[in-house]
Assembly symmetry: C2
Homo-oligomer: 265 residues x 2
Amino acid sequence: MTRALLRGYAGARMETERIWTAALVVIGDEILSGRTQDKNVAQIAQWLNVQGIRLVEVRVVADREEAIVEAVNTLRARNDYLFTTGGIGPTHDDITVDAIAAALGLGVVHHPQAVAVLERYYATRGGASEARLRMARVPEGAELIENRMSGAPGIRIGNVFIMAGVPHITAGMLDSLTGTLQGGRPVVSRQIGCWVAESEIADLLRDAERSHPGVAIGSYPFFREGRTGANFVIRSPDEAAVDACIADLTTALEEAGHKVFAAGI
Amino acid sequence: MTRALLRGYAGARMETERIWTAALVVIGDEILSGRTQDKNVAQIAQWLNVQGIRLVEVRVVADREEAIVEAVNTLRARNDYLFTTGGIGPTHDDITVDAIAAALGLGVVHHPQAVAVLERYYATRGGASEARLRMARVPEGAELIENRMSGAPGIRIGNVFIMAGVPHITAGMLDSLTGTLQGGRPVVSRQIGCWVAESEIADLLRDAERSHPGVAIGSYPFFREGRTGANFVIRSPDEAAVDACIADLTTALEEAGHKVFAAGI
């Protein structure tokens, strides 16, 4: 339903509201092979919503330099922020820093503060070996993102944010970035639900969206307890518009004989 | 670690082994907003592995025609197969069929067999309304993919496979495609594990990969029961090469004083 969201946003932009966008590149063969279930897309999307930044595109690429370079260069150019997850550990398959440095045309250096962090972290864990100090390597000119969970920090270079692949480490890095990125009004998202086949009320949904510019309605059917139902997600940066759309949609659904559950089903 | 996998595959190709590739476009605002946790990437990746086809790139795009067209046209051109999930329901936010028809420069028609399927399915469910018959619309010249779970079928047009977004419906569609797509030798993937920080044995892993051309080793650290460990995934289409690599790696790890768990930890 982003057509409508963009329609709405375009309208909002004319009233000088700027939409801040982000893209995410998930780096890792383990996601593409199906070995590992990604958790970072949903986690980063939800965190960005709160920062008033909209996640508009995700790519999952292999641990292969050309694939990373292509995705990073395309997406950083057309978004305010670009995040990556994965490939920043100490082993041979961790090539994210080198690939992003290549994408940006930069050299790779050991960041003195990252070296200090790792030396401190590994002082009681067997010492900071050469392999471990690989995790202090950054594209030239980069800043660090604090890692509150383990030793190796994340990295910021320009509008590119290089994060861990392990979700709880990424979570700690996001935490330390909270409130530091410029964004717009967060999108308000509310949900209502009905025990109805979405195909029965498709026209009604379309009409409700059309009569509320700037509001997008998503329809998400489900099958549960042997019955068909659907939740409807109403989204806009304009909270009053969301409320008005929900009120009208609720009336229309109830007039059509469908009981509406105000928080979804 | 795909560098090595590709190195290996390149070697294998010289022995006339062709690698079949697929890409996936996940279509849906609900994934990009973080509302819904995607399950289709892992599901389709695992299914493709069994067909001897390798998933090499995934993009998640919004319910927006330009975004779908860009992703579909880029990825179908450079892969043997392109799958999409999401956006084939009856409501206004379901634009996948129109977007893919636009990407291919084709018109959209009601597929007579899909109309018949939907009329039969909805005969006892309130009838096949116009909204429901939207789900019979396909790009001109398309074939249907059987939906064993609910009414609306999937769609095949050229090398593009249009699947449902709801994971259990996608699963049924994959099931009906099983064995119908040409692929190569499936990649054999095995895992061993150690209670060791991966940074301690990074050199050993690199050496093991280097001395087994065509084999890729992925290293996946974890923190569990208060201890640090890592699993190592060894992959190749050549099963004997996987076994040989595991034997050498196990010896090297045990010589370095680390007990190896043969099935991972």
